[in-house]
Amino acid sequence: MEELHEEKQGKAKKERTPMPEQPAEERIKNFSEVALGYSKEDALAEASRCLSCKDPKCVEGCPVNVDIPGFIKLVSEENFEEAIEKIKATNTLPAICGRVCPQETQCEALCVLGKKGQPVAIGRLERFCADYEREKGVKDPEAMTPTGKKVAVVGSGPAGLTAAADLAKLGHKVTIFESLHKAGGVLSYGIPEFRLPKEIVRQELEYIKKLGVEVKPNYIIGRIKTLDELCDDFDAVFLGTGAGLPNFMGIEGENLNGVYSANEFLTRVNLMKAYDPEYDTMVRHGKHVLVVGGGNVAMDAARSALRLGAEEVSIVYRRGEDEMPARREEIEHAKEEGIIFRLLTNPVHILGDEKFNVTGVECIKMELGEADKSGRRSPVPVEGSEFLVPADVVVIAIGTSPNPIIFKGSEGLEQNKRGTVVADEETGATSKCGVFAGGDVVTGAATVISAMGAGKKSAKAIDEYLKEK
């Protein structure tokens, strides 16, 4: 079958079409986007690689089941308008997902072309379609018939935004409550400009407002109003409050000046633009920066520190590169930019001077032991292998727990040990009547697309709940 396709299309290209990028030596001096996006020719070339499989495995790999062969076929026919419509039928934020989805473990991981060579660059094509639409100008949504029902959405990350958009399209009156001064969740405060331009997030928000959704920033549920009060005021509530409480390691010296959680460092840099001298935001510009962790958050912190002017940035991770949870592309980009990877290494102690400023980190070498329950081999310290890494800024990116304030003053919302909200996988229904939840607050730190998927499922379930109510 595959062979046949290749014959039909003549010499199908084995290699995927490269993504035009800012060269590494340039981009480390600015915060502009690294990947520049496909040109029309690039997109057509890449689309022609897709075999339009009858039983497309790629679709199963996508958490929201985008009709991948469908939209790629439209791209190859240069029908970009319909291509984006097809994507948007299941994915409300394609400009964002095309940029930040871990495609190599999702859609692209299952693409048949990946078995022998390189999979189709599905994410890049998705981004191309979304950017094409944005440049043309997105059509204003049509007016809905109001149902008279009111839904509160708490949190404006991808889960909340998706739920709000879908509910508004069904005619419900939606209000989003967001505790920060800007909406977008991690898309606004966490993921840096050079990976996800904030202008894109802003335009997505504009679109959602045009659907009639009201966004209230500076509004903390659990402080201004409790969840219980919200339940009284609205017909249903969706919780998309994310997992934003930073974990620390509990090692000596962690409170020294110059030691940041990734959240603080990235919030100062992204949301509050500390890199722009026109802003009042303070952040330490380190010469020698050490970042602890191996996920996207660690990569983002390291690359941001580099762009703030650091001479040397290293990432310390206790397992090997293959175990790093970050997107492949981010690891590659970080390496190209000169970030040093100290793998199988763990910090044991942070050192400081008499003025309470961090001066370095004592690390220890690790080796991989037996595989644990999750199948990952767990690292164990190599005795006597301690060594010192000088550092004037240290960023801790070892994970987060659910934001805690939402639980204040409300009753009947079941949480599990890790602090996440217990919710039905299919509907997001929680133990509290009329309250649904999805995204990181349920799963713990995960991905943009899975948060969106959860927002979508909940919107559907909330709509059904409201019909019965």
């Binding site: 920060l180 209230k216 500076n218 903390i220 402080r223 620390f248 409170n255 330490r284 934001n403 304030i405």
Partner: protein, 281 residues
């Protein structure tokens, strides 16, 4: 989203009181809580204690001292202007209960946060002994308000220009020594004052509470910038506090962390004042 400044008054040299139209916050606020404001899109997030609030009118009062760039810029705004952001109430409310006799100690601009607490402790049925202080009589805040809110009021100034010559902590010691049965001492002010006050009260059989002012960004537990050591454990001031058992607080670390951006702050003020001279602001 913008929040209107309804009133503004300089109540002591470089200390200002502002009243903001923020009905949602006024409705939810309790003594001991704070807000975070941002003057404009490029501004820092500045935490300030809620100095007073009126549920009926939706007014929230803040009192701030000009310290660095943000508070100096804030001081230039007047009634009718708008703040870009004003979020709260943040932090846990003060643990106000009927305890018997409570001593409230406020120094400098720390008198501002003490005032709503004095009212709250009083209406909970406590005898409220307040001790307020400042460097000199011109800098003394809210004397009349505090007199009205307290059962007894004592004043100390560093230079002796009003009340007792010396520190609020001297008066605190005298009252504790007098044998009056005191259930709790609440101290709010510069960290050094809270540290000294805690030292003074520690030997007595009395609960001591301080309200900490760590550097903050979000105020919702998301950044960890506000972390403090309490009883050997890292706590977040914004969600675990701001009130803590004073005997367990590592004040030295608190003071060290507050100095985090001192160099940059000085430069920011210099740049701002230069721009002001050039008529840019």
């Amino acid at each position: 989203m913008a929040y209107k400044i309804l009133e503004k008054e300089e109540i002591a040299p470089s200390v200002h009181r502002m009243i903001i139209d923020a009905p949602d916050i006024a409705k939810a606020a309790k003594a001991g809580q704070f807000i975070i404001l941002r003057i404009d899109e490029r501004g820092e997030r500045v935490p300030l204690t809620i100095a007073d609030f009126e549920k009926e009118t939706g007014k929230v009062a803040i009192i701030f001292q000009e310290m660095g760039k943000s508070t100096k810029q804030l001081a230039k705004l007047s009634a009718g202007d708008f703040l870009e952001d004003f979020v709260g109430p943040l932090g846990n409310p003060a643990d106000v209960r009927k305890l018997g006799t409570v001593i409230l100690v406020g120094g400098g601009v720390g008198v501002a946060p003490i005032y709503p607490q004095a009212k709250a402790y009083r209406s909970a049925g406590n005898k409220v002994i307040s001790i307020i202080g400042a460097r000199n009589k011109d800098l003394l805040l809210l004397e009349e308000e505090m007199r009205e809110a307290s059962s007894e009021l004592y004043i100390a100034t560093d230079d002796g220009s009003k009340g007792q010559h010396g520190f609020v902590t001297d008066i605190l010691k005298k009252i504790l020594d007098s044998g009056e049965k005191v259930a709790r001492v609440v101290i709010v002010g510069p960290p050094i004052m809270m540290k000294v006050g805690t030292g003074v009260a520690s030997p007595y059989d009395v609960e001591i509470i301080v309200s900490l002012n760590s550097i903050m960004v979000d105020g919702t537990g998301m950044c960890g910038g506000c972390r403090v050591m309490v009883d050997g454990e890292t706590k977040f001031t914004c969600i675990d506090g701001p009130e803590f058992d004073a005997r367990k607080v590592d004040f030295v670390q608190l003071m060290n962390r507050l100095a985090m951006y001192r160099g940059e702050e000085a430069k920011a003020v210099e740049k701002y004042e230069e721009e002001c001279r050039c008529g840019l602001h």
